[in-house]
């Protein structure tokens, strides 16, 4: 394949984050954002797309994630190795602090990236699972706004869950 055809084949999109940082991504990466894919398929995508709900810090992570997934899936390796590879990458990718994780989760929901949404939700679930209420409150800074009487009533309602 000559280099000129390669150039015409690779479409590039510019994504602008909430704080004005512009990211250049290839089409294979951009289509993983379901929001953008819908636009591309509807033929109304412009090369310059502003994403006003995602900060540059999070967008950079999201693009890194999509890039890796796009490369691994098209890399010609067989499905099983690619699967294992992605699992390792995903595990490492989730090694971030809780706040980034939450932002990634809402970004994935908003940009409609199903695999990243599943991954972040699964990680959040594993953080909540098997932890006491006090531990969860502390980890995510959830403020207890129940009065003593109210809390007692809720505890009574769900007494079976605290056995």
């Amino acid at each position: 394949m000559s280099s000129s055809t390669e150039l015409t084949e690779k479409k590039v999109f510019l994504l602008k984050s909430l704080d004005g940082v512009i990211f250049e991504v290839e089409e294979s990466v951009a289509v993983q954002l379901e929001v953008i894919r819908e636009l591309i398929e509807g033929d109304c995508a412009r090369p310059f797309i502003s994403l006003y709900n995602v900060t540059s810090e999070i967008l950079a992570l999201v693009i890194e994630y999509c890039k890796h997934h796009a490369e691994t899936c098209s890399g010609g390796t067989s499905a099983t190795i690619a699967d294992e590879d992605l699992k390792t990458f995903d595990n490492e990718f989730m090694n971030v602090d809780e706040n980034i994780l939450l932002e990634l989760c809402s970004a994935a929901d908003y940009l409609d990236i199903k695999s990243l949404f599943e991954l972040t939700c699964r990680t959040l679930a594993s953080l909540i699972k098997d932890r006491t209420i006090i531990e969860v409150r502390k980890m995510f800074n959830v403020e207890n706004d129940f009065s003593v009487v109210e809390e007692k009533a809720v505890r009574k309602e769900f007494a079976w869950a605290f056995k």
């Binding site: 679930a125 909540i128 209420i133 409150r137 207890n144 706004d145 079976w160």
Partner: protein, 581 residues
């Protein structure tokens, strides 16, 4: 121009409605003039809108507190801000679903008022009598009393929560009910609860009845529901009804430990034309399973149904078939119309060579074949250009397996001895072998012959392991220098899967020795890093309450023998309690 604008606007409104941020349509239109905008531009500081202000009237002080916190937030970054409560309800509901345990989900409602309201709007209802167990003292009298108490608490809880959470909703997603000890009174209540769920157009319904004698008959309204897509019954719940079954949107039907009759299956076949997934587990009753009208069928699983002796399935879309026989009960298969089958799992002790050959010849597109405990197989031949995955496990009488499968990617074998007289597996990337050899000497020589004979193993790395020891050979041919061979063998071409194997082997703790034979320093360096550089990875088990092997390791003794191919040995010492990082 107008067209894309309209589509975009539609999308935009959809997104904005779905996410946390509220936007106005005309605002959005302004931004579209110069570029493509997804979402809604937020005034002021980029981090500002993340916090929703709740209870404005009722709690003014708190709003103030929140505002000061927001200002601090810009300076201090992320610290001490509750962001999880700001996630939209549908995300938290998804996390709830992933928690799997109804106890964990219910417990979150005590976190704060916001979480209580998230739980109240959750569309899944899960009631399990086992969580209401009351501990009794000695004596029959106390036991009866405790059981009554348990029933009463359980019923009260359901009644209350249905009144508070189910009543206000127009539709719900899932309803699950687990009941111990059925009596007439309870059956009457169950009818009422399940009908209430059906009234709210429940999509997924699960009913478990854990009793020995009584049978619970599902109320007729359930069997006529248009909304149900998934129905899972377990224990003494019966699909039996005098009228017809008509679940026109049912996709998934699973019956476990239930009584199933052929007439019942026929009724299902007529009344549920969209079934894609059918599972019968430990079911009594059917002698012959005959299915020909379910054209959408994609997966069938039959596990240990002890009366089943004949399976006839004609479903051109069937992709997965799993049969697990019971107590060597012979079973005939007639699956002529399933030419699109991709995955076949058989655990059939009475299946003969001829039956097997006949069976797989019907599936030209088969990609995965798993055989386990097929103890009547003696000599088999598998020829396929499509097969990617093959497992032959514990087929104890198997003497010979001739495999001609150039696309095969992964191979698994466990049994007495090697028995592959002819093999064409040029596409192989990973393999697992597990032997229970009769005599050690012959076993080692057989193995050496095996790895020497097949050129296909040239690029592989060989991992051998038992409970205490693991040996890794970068070149499988070096097996001839090894005096003792452990029972489990793994072959792989990828370096990362070697590292994963070492990691998961160490996970079981108290392993003694790891030996690496390698001619390339790069390969041994990777393993060295995995074992020795563990302190750097302080994040390693942040998500787990149980700590991994790194936290239990007290010390590693390393010794090297350098010649043609370097041999490195690591010996491990363990401690009984983990060190936290």
């Amino acid at each position: 121009m107008m067209l894309w604008k309209r589509i975009l606007l539609k999308n935009l409104v959809k997104r904005v409605g779905k996410s946390n941020f509220r936007g106005k349509e005309d605002d959005a239109q302004n931004f579209m003039a110069d570029s493509l905008v997804i979402g809604h531009k937020v005034e002021g500081s980029p981090r500002m809108p993340k916090r929703k202000v709740r209870n404005v009237e009722s709690n003014k002080d708190k709003v103030k507190k929140q505002k000061t916190r927001e200002n601090n937030e810009i300076n201090e970054g992320y610290d001490a801000v509750d962001r999880i409560s700001d996630l939209p309800d549908h995300i938290v509901h998804h996390i709830f679903a992933l928690l799997h345990c109804p106890k964990d989900v219910a417990r979150t409602s005590i976190l704060s008022k916001r979480w209580k309201s998230i739980f109240d709007s959750y569309l899944t209802f899960d009631f399990d009598e086992r969580y209401f167990r009351v501990h009794w003292g000695r004596g029959k009298h106390n036991r009866i009393k405790a059981r009554e108490m348990q029933k009463k608490n359980f019923k009260n809880c359901i009644e209350k929560s249905l009144a508070a959470r189910l009543e206000p909703k127009s539709c719900i997603h899932k309803f699950r009910l687990y009941v111990n000890n059925l009596n007439d009174k309870l059956a009457y209540c169950m009818d009422r609860w399940l009908s209430a769920a059906v009234d709210k157009n429940v999509k997924e319904l699960e009913v478990h009845v854990n009793v020995k004698r009584n049978q619970y008959l599902l109320p007729d309204v359930i069997l006529m529901s248009e909304a149900i897509t998934s129905l899972k019954l377990s224990g003494c719940v019966s699909l039996f009804c005098f009228t017809a079954v008509k679940l026109c949107n049912l996709r998934e039907l699973s019956m476990k430990k239930s009584l199933v009759t052929e007439a019942m299956i026929q009724k299902v076949e007529h009344g549920c034309p969209l079934i894609e997934d059918l599972r019968l587990v430990h079911c009594r009753g059917p002698v012959c399973l005959r299915i020909s009208e379910l054209v959408k069928l994609r997966r069938v699983e039959l596990h240990e149904c002890d009366t089943l002796s004949s399976v006839e399935i004609e479903a051109s879309n069937l992709e997965t078939f799993w049969y697990h026989g019971q107590n060597n009960q012979p079973c005939k298969f007639n699956m002529t119309g399933c030419q699109n089958l991709k995955q076949l799992t058989l655990n059939a002790g009475e299946m003969t060579d001829e039956m097997f050959q006949n069976c797989i010849s019907k599936f030209p597109l088969l990609e995965k074949l798993f055989l386990k405990e097929c103890n009547s197989l003696d000599k088999i031949t598998i020829i396929s250009g499509k097969l990617k995955s093959l497992a032959l496990n514990q087929c104890m009488m198997l003497q010979e397996a001739n495999i001609n499968t150039p696309s095969l990617f992964s191979l698994e074998y466990s049994g007495h001895k090697m028995s592959f007289p002819s093999m064409n597996i040029s596409g192989l990337r990973e393999a697992k072998f597990h032997f229970n050899p009769s005599s050690k000497d012959s076993y080692i020589s057989e193995l050496q012959k095996f790895f020497g004979n097949f050129d296909q193993f040239k690029d592989f790395k060989l991992i051998m392991h038992s409970k205490q020891n693991m040996t890794i050979l970068e070149n499988p041919r070096e097996v001839r220098f090894v005096r003792y061979i452990d029972e489990k063998l793994e072959l792989t071409t990828s370096k990362s899967s070697v590292l994963r194997s070492v990691d998961s082997w160490l996970r079981a703790l108290h392993r003694k020795r790891l030996t690496v034979v390698s001619s390339s320093s790069e390969f041994s360096k990777c393993i060295h890093t995995l074992i020795m550089n563990r302190e750097d990875d302080s994040y390693c088990c942040r998500y787990y309450s149980r700590k991994c092997w790194r936290h239990y390791l007290a010390g590693v003794k390393m010794s090297e023998i350098l010649n043609n191919s370097d041999k490195t040995t690591y010996e491990f010492k363990w401690r009984s309690t983990p060190v936290s990082c």
